[in-house]
Symmetry: C2
Subunit: 490 residues, 2 copies
């Protein structure tokens, strides 16, 4: 086991180093450094891959004798990682890299020029690579299973389809009902919020909910992200808009949620493949829990409205907590996923999940994507994008080769509500804790039930142990109906 | 050649990545991250070393067919690097790592407690490792040659001894003559200089002398340094003292001098072993040239005194350019090398050079170092440290295993004056250029004659081609006598 741990530790070190270089590239690096930096990151990732997908790893795995429960988990996870890595032919890995390198540039230009036909052949090539990837990795029922499994280990396409189907009808109804009600006035969120004050407020609240700045830090970047170099160093970034309150504030809560998950992993797992969040869905459950279930709750603003008002006397002197709470919970069908609200967000995801499957099966050729996209936008949200740039070209994910990634965003939303319900059963009135600033009650529960396990448990195992049931759309739907039913007087 | 370049490029990428991780550790990393970070850096350096000191490198070097002058230089330098790496037995590399790891901790504690005897056995072990290193690397005349060569390729101990001897007598006389004159009043440098304003001033002046912020940046760290990740990304750090003008301002000029050297290397060499300064001495010549020959000159302050006065009206409203110029050029024998002035600095270095050689030969056992140190301090500077903490325990270098490093600081001073003289012959009145802010005239000359070559030329070749003579103490001594003779009315 010691040899295996050391070997895997070196691979983890190479990947952590690559993550540091990527973090620096997005936060501090002078622009001129980009070409050399891309080369350096490429070299590190190559080394890590070569070292991992090697006979050496196979030999260490075969020779390892586990002497503890952690050892057993480590061995199981490492074997699975290794098998998947070895199933990918080097030729396909190389082609994927070439195809996505071209697709990324083509996507960027196509979006700028609103020229989907220029991107279509690249998208088709990405889909084709993913078909071959699915065949290489193997699956029982559905090729999409193999792709989904990379981001959400153990999750099946059929299960996601079923859960999304449960959700969709009710969600479309809820959105339609809200659309008939008077719109919330959220104009005050577009006033001037001095950037330095936004920054300070964000860091104050992050620290108060439990993000550990002694094991992390916040920096500025064009697109917010969180990244982890070790259990003792998990960082976030944010982007401050002077004339919009939401992006920095809720972005910081969101990224802090991700980073607090990584900070909560048992330190004894550091440097092993077990030391990270167990799936993208479970990760997103943590970011969404702090951003939405905590950060957009009435109880939270009972506590924080006076604080925020004091930070921004210019923008908020005449505002009141009720109006502010309504403003940050405006529901409005819109075109862009990342700008959409808590309720409509999941519909954006379902649309993508369905279209990914349709493209993968060949039912929707890449060239026909805009038509299929716009039809679903009409059906789910009642609006149609005026351009592909604001439609099927808006996200970068497909150009990076990622098929099977999108559904994890909604899985995260659903999981967050399941965990929230269970937390309420275990910890008492969560609103009371939030109003009193006892965020540690929430965080301790998450640490105990979710964070500390790292990858020792799958998302499904965590849900079962913590909530008594597997993935389930019920709690989130109930939460959304109750919250937005009250807000919109349905 | 292409295979060799790619192979060496990957090694360079690993080392650059380690440098990024070190930079982050000193500037931004949360404290708790230190253990994981040390492990990550260790892994990268190990990989880089394994990959370099390998049969693979030997095979690439043997098979490479140069087809240009750059190829020939690359092959020559890479072969030399490889030979030296292969001469070091793995067992000695390992022992060196263990010995210095213990020595560093022991030094830190010993300095804090002023307990030299606790450090002495560690120092003896470091010296012994260096004796074996010298034997492994090989030398013609003097074991010290082998150690010096690592930091100053091609330089010989005998030559350094001779040059230092030329210097020492005159320098001791100059220091003594100054000591008899009325002391300069430099109290104004200890007033309050608001840190943010110091920062802004430093960045303004760095940009004006030619440091390219589009290919670099400045951050804060406990100890200032410069570091290079590529020709397109060469960074500096500084440390701001609210009650001392010198450290941040002259520190920024110094580090910018180092970084401008790296920024000036021909971009075509990036990613190869040729893409860096050619020796520590030549590197120090660049930092010292901008810090002292430019930054402490009368012409510089003719231009910048009003600027700096406007930055610090509180501290400098009543000051005048003459008094300020005298203050920043105060000569005063002192105990600590890094706080010493332009004139006495070289005596601190000579002392260390002599004692390194004496320890290496066994003439001075490590245990007897304090006595030998204090005797030389009395002889050269006329003062004796009241404690070993302020004496032979003040520097970290020996505890890191570096023997042969110190003399390069003084070699840099000497080279800077040689280059300055030649620059004056080629470019006309340098004071006039400085007064007019035409720093690009100086920088262009340095780029042409020094920077762009990277490691294609040795320091000695650069000096010969640029100045017509090899290393020579004459120009620096003439500069010091003229400048400080005028300042102290000798």
């Amino acid at each position: 086991m010691e040899d295996l741990r050391r070997h895997l530790g070196r691979i983890a070190d190479l990947n952590a180093a690559a993550a540091v270089l990527e973090w620096d590239m997005e936060t501090h690096m002078p622009d001129a450094g980009v070409a050399a930096r891309a080369r350096q990151i490429g070299t590190l990732r190559e080394f890590a891959h070569e070292l991992h997908a090697s006979d050496e790893t196979g030999a260490f795995l075969a020779a390892a004798v586990p002497s503890s429960a952690v050892d057993q988990d480590l061995l199981r996870v490492a074997k699975r990682d290794f098998e998947l890595a070895m199933r990918m032919p080097a030729e396909l890995v190389g082609e994927m890299a070439r195809v996505t390198s071209l697709a990324r540039d083509a996507w960027k230009t196509a979006r700028e020029r609103d020229d989907f036909p220029a991107f279509a052949p690249h998208l088709e090539a990405v889909i084709d690579c993913n078909r071959r990837k699915a065949e290489a990795l193997g699956y029982d029922d559905d090729p999409y299973d193999a792709l989904l499994d990379e981001f959400e280990p153990g999750m099946k396409t059929a299960r996601v389809s079923q859960v999304f189907a449960d959700l969709r009808t009710e969600l479309v109804e809820l959105v339609a009902a809200i659309a008939e009600k008077p719109a919330h006035d959220d104009a005050l969120l577009g006033r001037y919020f001095p950037p330095d004050r936004q920054w300070d407020l964000g860091e104050q609240v992050m620290a108060e909910i439990g993000y550990d700045f002694s094991r992390g830090r916040q920096d500025k970047s064009a697109h917010p992200f969180s990244t982890t170099f070790s259990v003792t160093d998990s960082r976030v970034t944010t982007h401050v808009h002077p004339h919009h309150f939401n992006p920095a504030f809720f972005g910081s809560l969101h990224e802090a949620g991700h980073a607090m998950y990584e900070q909560g992993v048992d330190e004894a797992l550091d440097g092993t493949p077990l030391a990270s969040g167990t799936s993208l869905g479970m990760h997103e459950s943590q970011s969404r829990l702090w951003e939405n279930l905590v950060g957009r709750s009435r109880a939270f603003w009972d506590r924080y409205f006076p604080v925020v008002q004091a930070y921004f006397p210019g923008a908020l002197a005449q505002a009141d907590p009720d109006g502010f709470y309504r403003a940050i919970n405006t529901v409005r069908p819109s075109l862009i996923r990342i700008e959409s609200d808590e309720v409509t967000y999941n519909l954006h995801i379902m649309l993508r999940f369905e279209l990914e499957r349709a493209m993968l099966s060949g039912d929707v050729p890449a060239a026909d994507l805009p038509e299929a996209w716009n039809a679903r936008m009409q059906e789910y949200l009642g609006i149609v994008p005026p351009s592909d740039a604001a439609g099927c070209l808006q996200d970068i994910h497909w150009s990076l080769g990622a098929i099977g990634y999108f559904p994890t965003y909604s899985l995260g939303n659903l999981m967050s509500a399941q965990l929230w319900e269970a937390m309420g059963r275990d910890c008492g009135d969560l609103d009371e804790h939030i109003r009193a600033g006892r965020f540690s009650v929430l965080l301790d529960w998450l640490r105990e039930n979710v964070h500390r396990h790292g990858r020792r448990k799958t998302a499904s195992e965590i849900l079962l142990d913590a909530t008594g049931s597997d993935l389930d759309a019920g709690p989130w739907m109930a939460y959304a109906k109750a919250k937005f039913g009250a807000l919109y007087e349905l």
